[in-house]
Symmetry: C2
Subunit: 341 residues, 2 copies
């Protein structure tokens, strides 16, 4: 098989926060501090009103002295004006030899002089939204090692969070597990991966095969899911990822407070049971032994009383562990994985 050049980020990271003052706009940076604190050397904030992720404040010189290798844009920058405002700082970082890592829609090369600055120091401009160019067509070939794929009743129901939490819980209990990223923030956390929603349609399952290659028989890949088979905007990505991942187990992710599809308000959300059934039916095409090992539910919008009741009721109905990973961790899912190995 031809060699695919997938992106490999170089930690440690300086997280660039600009002058953003709300945590929601800084959620990429917050995710890095939460999930890969070992890779984070500090944050760059323009002033004291800026959101604080609780890591050291560093300017470019201090970050380089502290060993930083990459500046990661940890905020959602809105439009070209912002890029203009921060162009001098980003140029300074690139000239100092830091890779500049972005998940923005706009291109880093559109920022004045930035390409020249990076060329001068030999640093890289990396947009994790760009898929590699030389992906293979999916082959369906059975791969060694084990795989869990997060699937969902919709987009943005906690698939990335659940995958990261499960991978950590497995590692903590002595299992061999690797989080595999399929989206931008996940890629920054993992330091590698492929943004599957950005690949050419013919190569979705091929990308999934590259993301999760052959591995030791007792090793588990915990694969970040994307979209939903039930989301009319993104279902193609979800099915290609499901077939290419060949999961031995799926975990269904769900938001307890959501009633309609996030991108298509005319569509009711499927039930968790419908979601399990259709995902298993489709997943069996590339792995007939696939099982559903549980459900991760975001219950944060329910009252504290209602949260556990909801989970217990769903669990009784489905005869599966149904957990809120933020509330309870993922130990119940690790128990299920132990039964499979």
């Amino acid at each position: 098989m031809k060699q695919v050049t997938t992106v490999k980020l170089t930690p440690p990271y300086l997280i660039f926060l600009g002058d953003v003052s709300d945590l929601l706009s800084a959620k990429t940076g917050a995710g890095l501090v939460q999930w890969c604190p070992d890779k984070v050397v500090g944050q760059f904030r323009s002033n004291a009103n800026c959101v604080d992720l609780g890591v050291p404040d560093l300017n470019i010189e201090q970050a380089v002295a502290a060993g930083a290798k990459s500046l990661v844009i940890g905020v959602a920058l809105v439009g070209g004006a912002m890029n203009q405002l921060w162009a001098p700082l980003l140029n300074q970082a690139a000239l100092a030899g830091l890779d500049i890592v972005s998940g923005m829609h706009s291109e880093l090369t559109d920022i004045p002089n930035l390409a020249d600055s990076a060329k001068h120091s030999g640093s890289r401009l990396i947009n994790v939204r760009r898929a590699p160019a030389n992906l293979p067509i999916g082959t369906g070939r059975k791969r060694s090692g084990k795989r869990v794929l997060m699937v969902g009743t919709d987009c943005a129901v906690g698939k990335k969070y659940s995958a990261l939490a499960l991978a950590n819980a497995m590692t903590a209990r002595g299992l061999r597990a690797t989080f595999r990223a399929t989206g931008q923030t996940g890629m920054m956390i993992a330091g590698s991966g492929i943004p599957v929603d950005s690949v050419i349609a013919d190569f979705i399952s091929g990308a999934a095969e590259v993301i999760s290659p052959d591995n030791a028989p007792d090793h588990w890949d915990i694969i970040e899911g994307q979209g939903s088979l039930f989301n009319p905007s993104y279902s193609g990505v979800s099915l290609g990822l499901l077939h290419g991942s060949q999961p031995d187990a799926i975990v269904v992710c769900h938001d307890a407070s959501r009633e309609v599809v996030s991108t298509c308000a005319d569509y009711r959300l499927p039930s968790v049971e419908e979601c399990i059934d259709l995902n298993l039916l489709c997943a069996r095409i590339t792995n007939p032994a696939v099982v559903c090992i549980g459900v991760c539910v975001n219950t944060s919008k329910l009252s504290s009383q209602a949260r556990l009741e909801y989970l217990q009721q769903l669990s009784a109905q489905l005869q599966l562990p149904c957990i809120d990973p933020i509330l309870q961790g993922c130990d119940a899912l690790v128990d299920e994985i132990n039964k499979l190995t």
Copy 2:
């Protein structure tokens, strides 16, 4: 909604056949002569041993005099050497004002001087393999008009042929029907369309929505299918196309002689019944009223005795019209469509 710039080809076509001597390598050209003879003014063949599509032999001057507006590359050209060989002829055509239309993997702009020649005359270099850049995300919004989508047990089982044959049969019986192309040859025949397997994964269903826009209540789009939900290489394309098309009816296409998936020999082909069931289950997400109106089978590799027996047996089993469109035409499917309108 933002305006999407989809390709519109300009007939009549001069079909370029180069020096290809086998009909299989010229199947694109043969498809044009079969399905849109009114758009074909002639063929360019380099010598008498070249495959003959039965239309007038014309050189560039003669083609222009006969009204040709586009030169369509009707053969599979293999590699850059061939491009070099034909560069003078293609340049002559572009300088004479003909659009150059290609479905090749390589870029027309890689052919020496061709971009300059086209610029000089104001003609266009069009690669129907390239998707438009500004596609929308699928919305799931219900559109007016009616739609049939061809689906399949695999790739290359006659979905394009069946769609074209059905659209012609409907028109012949006074129904309003338009063939909608989702692949290269289909686009050359229709003069427009989007190559859905070449779009960015996030935009598959959005592309399908653009291909088949709102229409009169009694108008039918007959949409060319791609891939198969059961093909581990291409299933993502198939599901996005299914959800974006919102078909009122599906037709399952199948090859009676195929036993394993064309791109993945370890995978057995699904039964026609499995294919109907999974496609309907998924299609109901964006159109709960969807039905399967029949099955188109390529029986050409069976003995002449076995062909009709196979179709009768399948029809009795599924309680649906099961036809070989090459053998029998599509009237039985038109009868089913008439029951829906």
